[in-house]
């Protein structure tokens, strides 16, 4: 539909618009894009610069590295907390995304049956959570009471269900043609078989959308790890980066920087921090181009339901 509108608009000759206005729009968008890319580029250049280069440089724009060393990355990847941090982050992201997608689909499917007895009650049972939550402290106490404090499963279990995703997927299931299930039903398939072999396969695009949302939410989470986890080895990588860059934790800094110690060919404290930021966003930058399409599709799915 968008493409059709596009073609029609482009065909008409009166439609060129004011060239100056158009140029301004292109330039504005270019500036926005630079504002996204340049800070990342700047930090990348900083992270590979060394003490000698930075102390003699007068160029503030960092268009190229000042001196060159990969030592900052080398130091990071020899740190224990980076290994455990990435381990926990990867574990929670993969396990959490998988489980959330499964549970969301399992929950949304029965709710999509319009004649399911108790459907209205169940929907309100789930929906209430969207409007009213216990809040930070009662949630913390609940986690404590069920004995999940300092257990990495807390990172998977606490964000397991999301009412919004359930309702979104329910709406999608409601739109599936009934004939689809009837055929399988007549062939003698059980409810679970219908769900696993008929419903799930045709819902893959929707599941991918929700999956990518959950994936990035997990990858970027840090707060649950900060409050529910106490052992350093069980923290996600974002927590360590936060301690290093934002809290400027002296102990963590010392253990990391001590190796570099202000020699001319070594990274500075700032370039160490820049490297820390880089290693957390590079995975996002790598995955982003591949999953971007699912994001906008899903937003449209949810937003313009008509």
């Amino acid at each position: 539909m968008i493409q059709a509108a596009e073609k029609k608009r482009r065909r008409s000759p009166i439609n060129r618009g004011n060239p100056v206005a158009k140029a301004l729009i292109y330039i504005f968008l270019l500036i926005f894009m630079i504002s996204v890319i340049y800070p990342i580029y700047y930090l990348l250049m900083y992270s590979v610069s060394n003490y000698g280069g930075l102390s003699t440089s007068t160029d503030p724009f960092m268009l190229y590295p000042k001196g060159f060393t990969l030592k900052a990355y080398e130091i990071f990847f020899s740190q224990n907390y980076i290994h455990t941090g990435f381990g926990v982050t990867i574990f929670r992201t993969i396990t959490g995304t998988f489980l959330t997608v499964i549970v969301t689909a399992l929950t949304a499917y029965p709710l999509s049956k319009r004649d399911l007895p108790g459907r209205k009650f169940l929907i309100w049972f789930f929906m209430l959570n969207m409007f009213f939550q216990g809040g930070l402290i009662p949630t913390y106490l609940t986690i404590k009471n069920v004995g999940l404090l300092d257990n990495i499963w807390v990172l998977v279990l606490v964000p397991l269900c999301n009412t919004y995703y359930i309702l979104l997927l329910r709406e999608y299931f409601e739109g599936l043609p009934e004939a689809l299930e009837e055929a399988a039903h007549i062939d003698g398939a059980s409810a679970l078989q219908i769900f696993a072999y008929v419903i799930l396969p045709i819902s893959i695009p929707s599941l991918m959308t929700i999956g990518t949302w959950v994936f990035f939410t997990h990858w970027n989470s840090y707060f649950d790890s900060m409050i529910y986890i106490s052992s350093t080895a069980k923290h996600v990588v974002q927590v360590h980066i936060r301690r290093l860059v934002i809290e400027q934790n002296n102990m963590l800094m010392a253990s990391t920087i001590a190796v570099s110690g202000g020699k001319m060919d070594q990274p500075t404290e700032q370039s160490m921090r820049a490297a820390g930021i880089m290693i957390t966003i590079v995975p996002v930058l790598i995955v982003y181009p591949f999953v971007r399409q699912y994001f906008s599709k899903g937003m449209v799915l949810g937003a313009v339901k008509g």
């Binding site: 968008l29 402290i137 106490l141 937003m299």
Partner: protein, 317 residues
């Protein structure tokens, strides 16, 4: 065997209204599907709601939720006399209002600008890249800001010095801090927020534009007389949603940006509750503050939903 018996059962689609009993039998397996989610909601959603009672108690860790003594409205009375709380409330509303004015429209403006770009590749690139910051965590964005705004080594101040200016401690001065809060939130969310508007614009019938062109309308006139009226509904819904979440001024953002120098001016309810509850272990008092916030939040959501229905838009529920 089972398969045979299943076949004998009448086609569900032909049943029309079937009895409760037969529907219960028909869907008996589907209830099993719901079990994991129901358990989760009981523990992680209703558990904390049950725990809210400690706002009316003097919670002691050793006595537990049930064992602690009831104290009625004590914590709420204390709250309304607490100058920090009043200040934090005001900060929350102030930052939220600024965001309402600047952030929500930025998504719309970006969508309208992207819509004017006819070069397909450039448009795809621009929408991809402007959306990218949404996928960075606030830890990362906070870190980037801290690094590039640093008075001694940051990029922005290096450039200011390059042109002969004096370095500014951006995150240490309230007005500059708020400026960067707004700007970074815009930077983070404009691309993401534009998607919904782009979808709404895409759904407008091309005939309307053709008719407008026949009447001699240029791009600007088309924008005013076709695009904006057609997506007015979406704009209203987005604004209504924003008003409904007024009490959330952005915990992740403030928490990863603030420091002692600006603390009292930019501390919001959520950061206050966090520091009181998790760091100082004032469980009951911070729960009372959180409960107060949630009640206002709920009232706002219900009100804005009603308003949205009143002016003829679909409500949320």
């Amino acid at each position: 065997m089972t398969a045979l018996r299943r076949k004998d059962r009448p086609n569900p689609a032909m049943l029309g209204k079937s009895s409760l009993r037969s529907r219960l039998i028909k869907y008996r397996w589907l209830y099993l599907f719901l079990v994991p989610a129901i358990i989760w909601y009981i523990i992680f959603a209703y558990g904390p709601i049950y725990g809210l009672q400690i706002a009316f108690k003097d919670f002691k860790i050793l006595k537990g939720i049930e064992g602690s003594a009831w104290v009625g409205m004590k914590h709420f009375n204390k709250m309304f006399a607490d100058r920090t709380f009043i200040r934090v409330m005001w900060n929350t509303v102030y930052i939220s209002l600024l965001k309402l004015v600047f952030i929500a429209p930025s998504g719309l403006v970006l969508a309208l600008l992207l819509n004017e770009v006819t070069h397909k590749f450039y448009r795809g690139l621009a929408s991809s890249i402007t959306m990218l910051p949404h996928f960075f965590s606030w830890v990362v964005i906070g870190s980037i800001l801290l690094e590039i705004l640093s008075p001694s080594t940051g990029m922005v101040n290096a450039i200011i010095r390059f042109f002969g200016g004096k370095p500014i401690y951006f995150l240490g001065e309230t007005n500059w801090f708020i400026f960067w809060v707004i700007l970074s939130d815009m930077w983070e969310s404009a691309g993401w927020n534009s998607i919904i508007f782009i979808a709404a614009i895409g759904a407008i019938s091309p005939d309307l534009y053709e008719a407008a062109q026949l009447d001699g309308a240029g791009r600007w006139k088309q924008l005013i007389h076709v695009t904006l009226p057609c997506i007015a509904g979406t704009i209203v819904v987005v604004m209504v949603l924003k008003v409904g979440s007024m009490m959330n001024a952005g915990f992740d953002q403030i928490y990863n940006m603030y420091n002692d120098a600006v603390m009292s001016d930019v501390d919001i309810i959520d950061t206050y509750v966090y520091r009181l509850g998790i760091q100082s272990s004032k469980y009951s008092y911070s729960t009372a503050v959180g409960l107060f916030k949630n009640v206002i939040n709920l009232a706002l959501v219900l009100l804005t939903n009603k308003f949205s229905k009143m002016i003829g838009q679909n409500g949320l529920f």
